[in-house]
């Protein structure tokens, strides 16, 4: 843990927790093809999803509100969990071992919390799924209030740009899942990708960027910048990080 800590570390101190999984047992190659038919069990429609499988009784009367798309090793979820105990948060991660790491980590945290008669971390969960294909299978129209796209795969080659997680096509789906007023957070250490994400979000009629002032005052932004593994890595290696926040606008009158 210590080797990963940087000055801006906003992550909770988990040193008291026993049985946390070790990342080295869960490494997986960097990219999974978002086009292929993975053996992912997704529900036919949101009503068919059993959320208690992920959140236990904590899912009763609550709906997922925050989604971390491509959550990687789950740093954001773990950090935000104590801040929004009443909000269900979901990490979606296509790589099986990586998602399994997050699942095991959350189990260990919940176990620890239960031993102390608390319900910490019952509001966060991770799901192995392909967010480019199956979001509408999990979420109803306008269900979400925040979506996070933190350090997404850059897909540098021109021919692979269409695999990027922010495209005009996918933004329509994100806008469908987000309620008007909901927020999209993006961050990357690849300037070209930042420009791409900002370009497409700016051009999309259903999104508008927050003002500098609003971005500066956003409570979550420090976690977006510093809580994830990729964010820590970029800081360690001295790379710039480019965050941005966009608001989901109401649909125009038909």
């Amino acid at each position: 843990m210590t080797s990963e800590t940087s000055e801006n570390d906003v992550r909770p101190d988990l040193s008291a927790v026993q049985g946390l999984p070790q990342k080295r047992h869960y490494r997986q190659r960097a990219h999974a093809n978002p086009h292929s038919d993975h053996d992912i069990n997704y529900p036919v429609c949101p009503a068919k999803m059993d959320w208690t499988g992920l959140y236990g009784d904590y899912a009763n009367g609550r709906k997922v509100e925050f989604v971390d798309v491509g959550c990687g090793y789950g740093g954001l979820l773990i950090s935000l969990s104590p801040l929004y105990p009443e909000s269900l948060m979901l990490g979606m991660e296509i790589r099986m071992k990586v998602s399994d790491f997050v699942i095991d980590k959350i189990s260990a945290l919940r176990r620890h919390s239960k031993e102390n008669d608390k319900v910490d971390y019952f509001n966060v969960a991770c799901l192995r799924s392909n967010a480019m294909k199956f979001l509408p299978n999990y979420f109803e129209k306008h269900q979400l209030s925040k979506m996070f796209f933190l350090f997404p795969d850059p897909h540098f080659k021109n021919r692979k740009h269409k695999w990027r997680i922010i495209t005009p096509a996918l933004l329509a789906e994100y806008a469908y899942c987000l309620r008007p007023g909901g927020l999209v957070y993006t961050i990357t250490d690849v300037e070209d990708l930042h420009d791409w994400m900002v370009l497409h979000l700016n051009e999309h009629p259903l999104f508008e960027r927050l003002t500098d002032e609003e971005e500066k005052n956003d409570k979550i932004l420090p976690y977006v910048v510093n809580s994830t593994e990729e964010g820590q890595k970029a800081a360690r290696e001295g790379r710039n990080k480019y965050p941005a926040i966009f608001r989901r606008l109401p649909d125009p009158d038909p």
Partner: protein
């Protein structure tokens, strides 16, 4: 592959290979060699191309030249055909005057006129939905962005995109909603032409959705699971669904490729065609029960609705006319040239069921279990003997050591 396009209750076009045949009477009388023929290959070869397009052209040389989908304008004046050579031709139905012939960048799957007949809406295998001017060429074709954000020099206005092949398109009666059916079991209903507003998803099919039909506020759909589902497309709500359409003796289901709504004795019915079976299912819209299974002489390559209970199918052996009221099936006499071409017509566009060949997840958890057991055992021995603690035994196992690793 061969396509039928009815113009009215009698006449229509038949597309096979590079030709479109105008048939004055597709109903009873024979079509003759004198009927008008449009040579689509000749038309497209005359269209100039730029560099990017040439490359794209060259890569399609091995492709069988054929019409993949076609549409009639709502005022029934114009025909649009989308070709395997990635061309669209719009021509006047009455005299085959070519209005437009232009290139697109990917294999088309469905083409449809919008309600004012100004554009054709085209979906493709990569899941893009794009519209193009139907009646005139754009004044200037500038570099633009695809719905995936990529730059392209092809004309067109991107509307929508999915990570899945689009298999059917349908417009609401007022032309303000566009429904898109895809291989990932979904129907997406967007505003048209502001498709960035997705109004709903109609979710319930368990296999690909390959055909839709609209009636007022309701949408009917079918596909790989062979059920007919009825939706309120304004809300995405599933209203009713049928059992899978299949013959009593049949094991398993065959995908339904085309459904039509039609009126029989003043009541709404559905006709459902599989392109793998010699059967038409006639379904009562009232209770979605199958009321007839009409046997056919051949497997349809394509089916079309003429008027009332009259349908036609085109098959390798001929064209057939079917009356869903009397359940009669008659061979339509067809000109020699068309018959010859039909003999080796290609299969309709293949739609594959999902094929998740290896059970990735199961294997992984199995390996994980054994590995963690070993680690636990190792820990115990280490603790017991206080030696042999190199801890490297887990360097492989779950690690795909041959592959690049990134956190």
């Amino acid at each position: 592959m061969a396509l039928l396009l009815p113009l009215d209750d009698k006449s229509g076009y038949v597309f096979c290979k590079q030709f479109g045949f105008f048939c004055k009477s597709l109903v009873q009388a024979a079509t003759s060699d004198d009927d008008g023929i449009i040579d689509m290959k000749a038309i497209t070869e005359a269209v100039p191309s730029d560099k990017e397009q040439q490359q794209n052209d060259n890569s399609r040389e091995k492709i069988v030249f054929e019409a993949l989908c076609c549409a009639l304008s709502w005022r029934k004046e114009f025909v649009a055909v989308a070709l395997s050579s990635k061309f669209i031709i719009v021509f006047r139905a009455a005299d085959r005057t070519v209005i437009r012939a232009f290139r697109i960048s990917r294999f088309p799957t469905v083409i449809l006129f919008d309600k004012d007949d100004e554009h054709v809406i085209v979906s493709d295998r990569a899941g893009h939905v794009t519209r193009y001017l139907a009646m005139k060429s754009p004044e200037k074709v500038e570099q633009r962005r695809e719905i995936t954000g990529e730059l392209t020099n092809y004309e067109g206005e991107p509307l929508s995109g999915t990570f899945s092949m689009i298999l059917d398109l349908a417009l609401s009666p007022d032309g303000r909603k566009l429904a898109m059916a895809d291989r990932d079991e979904k129907i997406r209903v967007s505003r048209y032409p502001q498709c960035f507003v997705i109004e709903n998803f109609c979710l319930g099919h368990t296999e690909f959705v390959s055909t839709m039909a609209v009636h007022e506020n309701r949408l009917f759909s079918s596909g790989g699971d062979a059920t007919i589902k009825e939706w309120d497309y304004q809300t995405g709500q599933l209203l009713r669904e049928s059992a899978p359409l299949k013959l009593a003796a049949q094991k398993g289901v065959k995908p339904i490729r085309k459904i039509f709504l039609f009126s029989l004795n003043g009541k709404l019915h559905l006709a459902a065609f599989s392109y793998e079976m010699k059967t038409i299912f006639v379904v009562d819209e009232g209770n979605l029960a199958t009321i007839a299974e009409i046997p056919l002489d051949d497997v349809p390559l394509h089916a079309a609705h003429f008027e009332g209970p009259i349908f036609q199918i085109i098959a390798r052996s001929s064209i057939y006319r079917i009356c869903c009221e009397t359940r009669s099936v008659e061979k339509v006499e067809t000109c020699a040239k068309l018959l010859e071409l039909l003999k080796d017509a290609a299969e309709p566009m293949p739609i594959t069921y999902k094929n998740v060949a290896y059970n990735n997840a199961e294997q992984y958890f199995e390996r994980k279990r054994t590995k963690f057991e070993e680690i636990a055992k190792g820990d115990r021995t280490r603790k017991g003997k206080k030696k042999n603690s190199n801890g490297k035994q887990d360097a492989q196992g779950m690690d795909e050591s041959a592959e690049s690793v990134q956190t």
